[in-house]
């Protein structure tokens, strides 16, 4: 396929050119600091946390996300491209039927959303999702 500028723009905005546009997180260190504050600097493993977010968000003002981490006592959400990375921390009480929560968040641009769960045994697990935020257009 011949890629002229026009096609590239269309592909880029539609999010098909994922690897070509995979931007580095602009505030990586701030995010690491924020995560360290939540974990107390402990190692963070993978697995056991499910983070559901759209691959492409139609509008960064309202991005629906879901987190689930069976056996977690708390789940904290971070957005590594936002001016301030912390988004929310869910602490689950004795009457939480599951360690699941859904909410709507703001993303300042295309970036990674990271969910870090504190498990009952004191260990930490994380999952992340890259969300492309489309900006521009008339909305109709």
């Amino acid at each position: 396929m011949e890629l002229n500028r026009r096609k590239m723009l269309v592909l880029g905005t539609a999010g098909a050119a994922v690897t070509a546009f995979g931007a580095l997180p602009a505030f990586a260190s701030a995010t690491e600091d924020a995560i360290a504050e939540f974990t107390g600097g402990a190692d963070v493993g993978e697995g056991g946390v499910e983070l559901t977010a759209p691959e492409i968000a139609e509008n960064g003002n309202t991005v629906p996300i879901e987190v689930s981490a069976p056996g977690a006592v708390a789940i904290s959400i971070f957005a590594d491209g936002n001016p301030t990375p912390p988004v929310a921390t869910f602490k689950f009480g004795p009457l939480a039927a599951s360690q699941f929560a859904s909410t709507r968040i703001r993303l300042a641009g295309t970036q990674n959303v990271i969910a870090v769960a504190e498990m009952e045994d004191g260990s930490f697990k994380q999952a992340s999702a890259n969300v492309k935020v489309t900006i521009g257009g008339c909305g109709g």
Binding site: V10, L11, T13, A14, G15, A16, T52, P54, E55, I56, A57, E58, N59, N61, T62, V63, P64, E66, S102, T134, I135, G136, G137, C138, G139, G140
Partner: protein, 286 residues
């Protein structure tokens, strides 16, 4: 193409991943809308005879992402309903020198089912085509002795959203003949007139290019069956004349004013292009 029936709740999110594989295609999808697992919405149907440009008309809902679509499938998930609830209180609250509320004459707001579907509408006594906003202010001034609301102000848009909400699922059916015809013709003229430095008519985007991308966004057919609409962009209810103003402003033109005869005519014409789609207001759009 995957087909998803969006009825609210978490199953939508599960369906999102597959649908996004198709995101490069900017046209209407084949999803179907059922609100509150109850109101079946017609979001795609045969174009009315007076629309020459296409055979099938689509609600703007069909052009939105699965996540945005899901927000409209359940009244609890739809943030617009916050303002509909506020308007429901206003409906029953007396105002003005006559100390009357809307309900003093119209009883329960459910009695207004079907009204939004046929507006804008010819008013014989006034000798003009009137929008719902004009009719609401006529009630306020002449029956309630109250101050009129600003045409696209919050109070007004909330009330129009309340009236739309009780007509949801009913087909848009505005009359374009008889005494309304000259206004309809005027609206059609405006629809096809190029405005602004960009020299764009409504038709250039919403007729010639619906289904294509405009920058990062999908162009719809510009149907207004979903107004007032909650936009993610400004997180509030938006009136249809405010949307018209925004569109014409985007062509870099001086716009007509909300409530002006030009916009009333345009609303009648654009509404008529959606005859047969369900009233969806208050909808959720980008």
């Amino acid at each position: 193409m995957t087909k998803t029936t969006v009825t609210g709740g978490r199953l939508i999110i599960a369906a999102a991943a597959s649908a996004f594989a198709l995101a490069a295609y900017a046209g209407p999808d084949e999803d179907e809308l059922v609100v509150n697992e109850d109101i079946e919405m017609v979001t795609k149907t045969d174009a009315p005879d007076h629309v020459d440009a296409f055979d099938t008309i689509y609600s703007g809902w069909r052009f939105r992402s699965d996540e945005t679509q899901a927000l409209q499938a359940d009244d609890f998930d739809n943030p617009a309903m916050l303002w509909v609830e506020q308007a429901a209180e206003v409906w029953n609250t007396a105002a003005g020198s006559e100390e009357k509320s809307c309900s003093s004459c119209h009883n329960d707001v459910d009695s207004m089912a079907g009204v939004k579907a046929v507006y804008p509408k010819w008013n014989e006594d006034a000798g003009e085509v009137r929008t719902l906003e004009m009719q609401i202010n006529d009630c306020r001034e002449n029956r309630m002795g109250a101050e009129p609301w600003k045409y696209t102000g919050g109070d007004m848009t909330n009330m129009v959203a309340l009236l739309a909400s009780v007509s949801r699922g009913m087909p848009v059916n505005v009359a374009i003949d008889g005494p309304a015809q000259s206004t309809w013709e005027q609206g059609k003229e405006i629809y096809y007139t190029r405005y602004g430095q960009l020299e764009l008519s409504c038709a250039n985007c919403h007729e010639d290019n619906y289904g294509n991308m405009i920058r990062a966004d999908h162009l719809s057919q510009g149907q207004i069956n979903g107004f007032p609409t909650y936009r993610l962009k400004n997180t509030k209810l938006n009136a249809v004349h405010a949307r018209f103003k925004g569109c014409i402003r985007d062509t870099r033109a001086h716009t007509f004013s909300p409530g002006s005869p030009e916009f009333v005519a345009l609303e009648l014409y654009v509404a008529s292009r959606g005859n047969g789609l369900s009233v969806e207001g208050p909808s959720v759009r980008n």
